[in-house]
């Protein structure tokens, strides 16, 4: 009995890292349940036999390949609903990201299934899957059980990638007829990189800025501090969306994941979608004028105050320290 169906996202001929984590996790769980993990992909000619079969390395027994547009959720809902109708799956699993949330929610509506998002751990209990989801700013963890079909959407980086599979997966083409409404959305341009290409992934020390900087020019202050420290500058989605800083420097759910020695956050509230991209940093320092900002809950050093006053003086003081 095939048990768990995993959606694998791909872009420019490579499978998404969070999807590989989800396939690995599904394979582990299927092993415990005594069933199989299958993956489903949708796209065009770049979904070669080799690329699809390579998911076997992460434990997928079979890969269902559907033809359709890339980067849109609803066509994948159609394909997954078809696969579920054909194949008797009990669960669908998604890695962290954005598309998985849209597909998983749409599929829940289509199948009348239960859905849990932002899941950080999945366990087997009494032959059924139980998903753990942190709630209320991660102050509590709730567990979800499913009355029927269960849809589990992971949090970014929640599932570890493991090459525990036994080799190539069998690849099967899945014929799907897209629903009328799925065909009413068309991708005009995908994956546009806004702003210059900066490299932050190699940096040991990161100074990150958010909306609290007040304006794009606020980043100059952070560039200086990063220069003094010998690090790089990163940003939140809020300021990237506003055009204040390049997308290549964005940390979080739809940006980069980093784990530097120092992550110094200035004017960042610390939303979950930001936290998931930087929580493994060795030392987290936050400057925020709001004592209730969520970021203080996971900072090693928190400074409650105005960054406009603190950052320039901090830069001066570090210069003095380094000079002396």
């Amino acid at each position: 009995m095939p048990g768990i169906l995993v959606y694998a996202l791909h872009y420019e001929g490579a499978i998404n890292k969070n999807s590989l984590g989800a396939v690995s996790e599904a394979a582990r769980l299927a092993g415990e349940l005594g069933t199989e993990a299958h993956a489903i992909v949708m796209g065009g000619d770049d979904l070669t036999d080799d690329l699809c079969a390579s998911l076997g390395r992460y434990g997928a027994a079979k890969v269902l390949r559907a033809k359709g547009p890339e980067g849109l959720a609803q066509p994948v809902v159609d394909a997954m609903a078809k696969a579920v109708a054909d194949g008797g799956y009990d669960y669908a699993l998604f890695g962290g990201g954005l598309l998985g949330f849209e597909i998983g929610a749409g599929l829940a509506a289509r199948l009348g299934a239960g859905v849990t998002m932002e899941v950080t751990a999945v366990n087997v209990d009494g032959g059924r899957l139980v998903a753990e989801r942190p709630i209320h700013g991660d102050s509590s963890i709730s567990s979800s059980r499913y009355k029927g079909f269960g849809i589990i959407i992971g949090r970014l980086n929640a599932f570890e990638t493991q090459e525990a599979g036994s080799g190539a997966a069998t690849v099967e083409d899945l014929d799907v007829e897209l629903s009328e409404w799925s065909t009413r959305a068309t991708m005009v341009k995908r994956g546009e990189q806004r702003g210059v290409d900066v490299d932050i992934e190699g940096a040991d020390l990161l100074v990150a800025g958010g909306r609290g900087l007040g304006k794009a020019e606020g980043f100059e202050m952070l560039e200086q501090l990063a220069g003094t420290l010998g690090g790089a500058v990163a940003a939140t989605r809020a300021v990237v969306d506003a055009g204040w800083f390049p997308y290549a420097a964005q940390i979080g759910q739809t940006g980069k994941t980093v784990a530097p020695k120092l992550y110094l956050a200035a004017g960042i509230s610390g939303a979950i979608q930001h936290k998931v991209g930087m929580q493994s940093s060795e030392n987290i320092v936050a400057i925020n004028k709001d004592a209730n900002a969520p970021i203080f809950e996971y900072s090693d050093l928190g400074i409650v105050g105005d960054l406009n006053k603190i950052v320039p003086k901090l830069n001066d003081a570090i210069k003095v320290k380094k000079g002396g």
Partner: protein, 263 residues
């Protein structure tokens, strides 16, 4: 064009959130307010109406929630909605996201909107999937986290950030769009609009009025059992410095960084 905007009443962010241990549900008492993300959806509707590229006949605010949720509707109307619809029924209490989306879709079905707008997430449940649930029930195309939207008759051109950068997607209406908070800067309601909000039409509906199948909603009808709650692994609390004398503050930061060999 008719636009429906979904709104929700949430606990004020300044007030601490908690789960009621006896019911396992979120304790929704205390100060409540319109979900701040929803004001961007109302503003987006207003900008379409005022932009003139398409004729907007009506903007309707829709919510599901207990009696107190009318305040969110009044706020939405003060921000520009022409009228509002309130779905409220004891049978709906405890509905999960899929059940809530189903009940709201039933409510929207009666309105036959050309465009359904939502905010990017709810401030309390940390949820951003309701738009996709709605869209499947309504058989409409949908996109979430949209930060730019050009509207012409019958077509939307949307931009949003996804896993690999910014995507531009064209959508033929009717459609369900959740907007990111970068899409606009919501206006403040005028005093006159606040005063007038209670006079605008507000329709109160029960589950039966919109044809909701009771077996599919509420805690019973929901397909997820949120059973047990536990505390996350304890993390050692960080050091907090209140900045009073900035020279002293930066001295402490430098010492802290130096101790960890980060300078």
């Amino acid at each position: 064009m008719k636009i429906c905007v979904l709104v929700k009443e949430v606990p004020d962010a300044a007030v601490e959130k908690r789960i009621d241990p006896s019911t396992g549900r979120m304790d929704r008492s205390g100060e409540r307010n319109l979900n701040p993300y929803d004001t961007h959806a109302i503003e987006a509707a207003m900008q379409i109406k005022e932009g003139g590229a398409v004729e907007v006949d009506e903007i309707v605010a829709v919510t599901m929630g207990p009696a107190s949720a009318v305040r969110a509707l009044h706020k939405a109307v003060s921000l520009g909605a022409d009228r509002s619809v309130h779905l409220s029924d004891d049978a709906l209490a405890g509905s999960d996201v899929a059940a809530t989306g189903y009940a709201l879709a039933q409510t929207l079905e009666r309105e036959s909107p050309d465009l359904v707008l939502l905010g990017q997430q709810s401030d309390d449940g940390e949820c951003y999937t309701i738009g996709a649930v709605l869209a499947d029930h309504l058989r409409m195309p949908s996109l979430t986290q949209v930060i730019k939207m050009d509207v012409v008759e019958g077509k939307l051109t949307c931009e949003r950030q996804a896993e690999y950068g910014y995507d531009t997607v064209e959508i033929r209406t009717p459609a369900v769009i959740s907007v990111g908070d970068a899409i606009n800067e919501p206006r403040y309601p005028s005093l006159k609009a606040i005063m007038g909000a209670k006079k605008k039409p507000l329709e109160a509906l029960g589950a039966g009025d919109v044809g909701v199948d009771i077996s599919k909603v509420g805690a019973e009808g929901s397909q997820v059992d949120c059973g047990t709650f536990k505390a996350p692994p304890a993390k050692q609390a960080g050091t907090i410095i209140e900045d009073e004398d900035t020279i002293e503050t930066v001295g402490k930061i430098v010492a802290w960084l130096d101790e960890r060999k980060l300078i």
